[in-house]
């Protein structure tokens, strides 16, 4: 057996071209692959992070954003412990599609899945979605929010670290084995943001 305390499944979703694969590659391999082609189906990477001395294995599923792979990607929602919904801060359409994605999440994912909204590509000059708009949307939909850039690496590690931290807390408070999803309770409308101090620094 490998030496880790928890194994969590994290699934990234969102429109094609918002940078899901780049986020994953940046986090797991520390690279930013320019000219990354469209993902076919799903891909997955593994990275072990350490939170407060605990080894956490993150199994990160990177999904294709294109419509024709939707029924493949949907099949991964239910077993996910965390869903990362990514949009591109420089592309309004990718933000406009968020409600559609959320409907899918409601339909297929476990109700107690950790939901995180990520505005990617903050390194770009042609931003179209101000941070406050993203944050507002996340608050309305009871999601965590963070803005990242896979290119200049800002907030990428933080994103996954915080997810791991949050999932450990969930696992401990439910007191059950991981993957058990019987009891459901969402912690109300608590302010959910990791990025208050960070997202606007650029």
């Amino acid at each position: 057996m490998e030496d880790y305390k928890y194994l969590f499944k994290v699934v990234l979703i969102g429109n094609a071209g918002v940078g899901k694969t780049c986020l994953v590659r940046r986090f797991t391999q520390g690279i930013f692959p320019p000219g990354q082609g469209a993902t076919i189906g799903v891909d997955f990477m593994i990275k072990t992070v350490e939170i407060d001395g605990l080894k956490i294995k993150l199994q990160i599923w990177d999904t294709a954003g294109q419509e024709r792979f939707r029924s493949i990607t949907q099949s991964y929602y239910r077993s996910a412990h965390a869903l990362i919904l990514v949009y591109d801060v420089s592309a309004q359409p990718s933000f406009d599609c968020l409600p559609v994605w959320l409907r899918e999440v409601e339909e297929y994912a476990s109700p107690k899945v950790l939901r995180v909204l990520v505005g990617n590509k903050v390194d770009r000059d042609d931003r179209e979605i101000p941070p406050a708009v993203g944050e507002g949307f996340s608050r309305m939909n009871n999601m965590y929010f963070i803005e990242t850039s896979a290119k200049d690496c800002s907030n990428v590690d933080k994103l996954f670290q915080e997810i791991a931290r949050e999932l450990i807390q969930d696992a401990n408070s439910n007191d059950g084995p991981i993957g058990q999803q019987d009891t459901t309770h969402l912690d109300g409308a608590a302010e959910k943001s990791w990025s208050e101090s960070n997202c606007c620094k650029s």
Binding site: F44, S71, Y76
Partner: protein, 744 residues
């Protein structure tokens, strides 16, 4: 220098200086004779130096002379070399000139005879000659005009040959004369017309492909009754892809021989678009003929409004055929693309040495495959639909199996278990034939979801209903009848209760068997994947599959929790309430007895035989309706419950020495009996009870120290000192204040 100390210091220093200088002088004196000897040697050598100098001068002169000589000789050789080179160049030119004449004559006669190979060979020879030098040479010699005219003629011949060749090629194509097509195809590179040749040939092959596919598509209507009708489109696509593969297989060596390696991409650039076009036509026809879009629409409606009953539903059985064909379409495409990629990689490997260019070409090729209207994308789209339809198939078939769930004669489980696992297995197996790892993973994921949600829910509901305990005593029976009378009918007829009981036990068995079934399914599926796809999978694919298969383990643990829940229900509604009155009987048996009563008990057992009889009766009621494992769990629960209840009752009973002995006999009899009901040991569940009895059975209070504390030995006491005191209090013959004084 005014103070004494200063003077002394200076004196000291001078003394030291003197010593140092003396040492130095000694050293130099010591060296003197050495140096003198060396000087002598040197003076001896001086006269010899003169002769050495003259010798050296002589040698230098010799070397100089030899050098000049050598240079003279080699210069001649070099000149010879140059001359030889010129001669051979000259010879070549002469040869070229001669060849030019030969070509000229050859071309004329070959053209006359329509021997295009020969003519092309001549032109090829002519093209390999450097024309400008030829002209220069021709200018040097008198033959100038002849050469010029030959050149002109050959150029004309080349142009003519080109024209004729293209014409002939087109003619051959028109006459579908494969041999001639091939013949002329080989001539193109001789005229340095590689691109034209491949372009023409590629178009020719593409046209052939088109014709062939159209022909087999037209047969569709005629063959609707044949056995292969269900997979007709898969067959047609297979024919198409096999044709493309065969074309490449046959013509790649041809291209490689006559055009050189690394040209496959160019050929494929002509073939693939046509292949895509034809494949698309087949797939469009497939969608139309099988009414795929209508089904997709219906199914997505049903799946998204799972609760609403729709008038028109898709019969999963009809889907069966379409699903099978979809997976076939996918597997053929996967195989074809794999073949193409392998071929391309090999060809580029041989043909292009530079790695960067090779990667560039490979990227170009991939782009060709990812074409928006290409077969690759079309099949990806179909697979998306396939996964949704497959999910629907499973959901619908399983809900049917649930609806038609019936008891099976001679089986402890009902039909649902076999049915559902048959369906799941069928579904996953079908996905395996698609050869698409992502689709297989998705189907496995969906199967796990179904097992954990739709399927488990059935049992969860059955378990929640609980096990009807029947009427335990008069009040309960009275209350039940009262309440049913108030509702106007007697609902709980005995047969009803029996049926509910049987249903509950069957559910318990179903859950237990399902755990085994998931285990088997997991094993079989991984095995089959390894057999069917193991050799072609990359390590990433293996990981993906492994991770999705791990979903079965999650499903299994869900069922295990369900099973625990069921047993818990059984415990609280059937075991606990039953056992209590039986064990409570002990209260009515006096355990403060004299010898006479003790032997009386021995003759006629007051309690334990009856309890054992009750337990026996209780268990035999379950033995035949539970699976082995469930029955074992039941006995386990029963045993723990009896032990617990017994303990409670003991604490309400008073004992004397003989009464404790009687209790000891009773517990032993109980343990002996229960041990016969099961193969594994149940003694550990009676540990506390046996310890209580041991404490109760001491002769005097002082004896306790032989068991307790430092004398405990290997015994691990499960009782607290407080409990020990309480137990001792039960003995009527021990005094309370003495018990309190015990040091425990």
């Amino acid at each position: 220098m005014n103070s004494l100390s200063n003077i002394q210091e200076q004196y000291q220093r001078l003394n030291l200086e003197e010593i140092r200088i003396t040492e130095k002088l000694d050293l130099l004196m010591g060296q003197q004779c050495d140096i003198e000897a060396k000087l002598r040697n040197v003076s001896l050598l001086v006269p010899r130096l003169k002769s050495v100098k003259s010798d050296a001068k002589h040698l230098s002169g010799m070397i100089h002379f030899t050098c000049t000589l050598a240079e003279n000789v080699s210069a001649k050789v070099r000149e010879l070399d140059i001359a030889k080179g010129r001669v051979s160049e000259c010879q070549k030119r002469v040869n070229d000139l001669l060849d030019l004449q030969l070509c000229r004559e050859g071309v004329i006669s070959a053209m006359k005879n329509e021997d295009f190979e020969k003519a092309a060979a001549h032109v090829h020879r002519f093209l390999s000659i450097d024309e400008t030098t030829l002209k220069l040479t021709a200018g040097d010699i008198a033959q100038g005009p002849t050469v010029d005219s030959s050149l002109v003629l050959l150029h004309e011949a080349q142009a003519q040959l080109c024209k004729v060749l293209q014409q002939k090629f087109d003619e051959a194509v028109r006459d579908t004369d494969a041999a001639s097509v091939e013949r002329f195809f080989k001539i193109f590179p001789l005229l340095n017309m590689h691109e034209e040749g491949i372009s023409k040939f590629g178009s020719y092959l593409a046209a052939q492909l088109k014709e062939k596919t159209q022909k087999s598509l037209r047969q569709a209507d005629g063959e609707s009754t044949s056995v292969r009708a269900n997979v007709y489109f898969a067959d047609t696509l297979t024919v198409l892809l096999e044709s493309v593969a065969r074309i490449i297989e046959i013509h790649q060596p041809l291209v490689e021989t006559y055009y050189g390696p690394g040209r496959l991409l160019q050929v494929v650039e002509y073939l693939q678009p046509e292949c895509d076009k034809q494949a698309n036509q087949i797939l469009v026809e497939f969608r139309r003929s099988r009414q795929l879009d209508k089904q997709i629409h219906l199914v997505s409606e049903v799946l998204s409004n799972a609760n609403k009953a729709l008038h028109e539903k898709c019969d999963p059985r009809i889907l069966d055929a379409v699903l099978a064909e979809l997976t076939l379409l996918s597997s053929r495409t996967v195989l074809y693309l794999r073949f193409l990629r392998r071929r391309m990689a090999n060809d580029l490997e041989v043909g292009i040495t530079e790695e960067q260019t090779r990667d560039l070409r490979m990227n170009e090729f991939e782009k060709l495959l990812q074409n928006k209207t290409g077969i690759n994308r079309a099949v990806q789209e179909l697979l998306g639909h396939y996964i949704m339809l497959e999910r629907y198939f499973l959901v619908e078939s399983v809900s049917k199996a649930v609806a038609m769930d019936t008891a099976v004669e001679g089986s402890l489980t009902s039909s649902i278990v076999d049915d559902v696992f048959f369906l799941v297995k069928k579904s996953i197996r079908r996905s395996l034939t698609s050869c698409s790892i992502d689709s297989i993973c998705a189907v496995i994921n969906n199967a796990c979801t179904l097992l954990e949600e739709d399927y488990a829910l059935v049992f969860q509901q059955q378990c929640k209903l609980g096990f009807p305990s029947g009427y335990l005593d008069l009040t309960q029976a009275y209350n039940a009848i009262q309440s049913s009378l108030q509702q106007g009918s007697i609902r709980l007829q005995p047969s009803d209760t029996e049926k509910t009981k049987a249903n509950f036990l069957t559910a318990l068995n179903n859950i237990e068997t399902s755990i085994e079934c998931i285990e088997t399914l997991d094993k079989n599926v991984s095995h089959e994947i390894q057999i069917n796809l193991g050799s072609t999978m990359m390590s990433r694919d293996q990981e993906k599959i492994k991770s999705c298969l791990a979903g079965f383990q999650t499903s299994k643990s869900k069922f295990r929790h369900l099973l625990d829940f069921g047993h818990e229900q059984l415990k609280s509604s059937a075991i606990k309430p039953r056992i209590k009155p039986w064990v409570d009987q002990l209260l009515s048996v006096n355990h403060v007895i004299d010898e006479e009563e003790f032997s009386c008990y021995e003759a006629q057992d007051p309690f334990i035989q009856e309890l054992n009889l009750h337990l026996d009766g209780f268990m035999s009621g379950f033995k035949d309706s539970l699976t082995v494992n469930n029955y074992q769990t039941l006995i386990g629960t029963l045993t723990s419950q009896v032990a617990q209840q017994f303990e409670k009752v003991i604490f309400k009973t008073a004992f004397n020495r003989l009464g404790a002995l009687q209790l000891d006999k009773e517990i032993r009899a109980l343990i002996t009996y229960l041990s016969t009901t099961t193969t594994w040991t149940i003694r550990d569940r009676f540990t506390r009870l046996t310890q209580i009895v041991t404490i109760l059975n001491i002769e005097t209070l002082a004896e306790i120290s032989e068991y307790w504390g430092p004398n405990a030995g290997t015994v691990t006491w499960r009782l607290t000192p407080q409990e020990v005191r309480e137990i001792l209090m039960l003995r009527t013959d021990f005094r309370a204040d003495e018990i309190k004084r015990l040091k425990l």
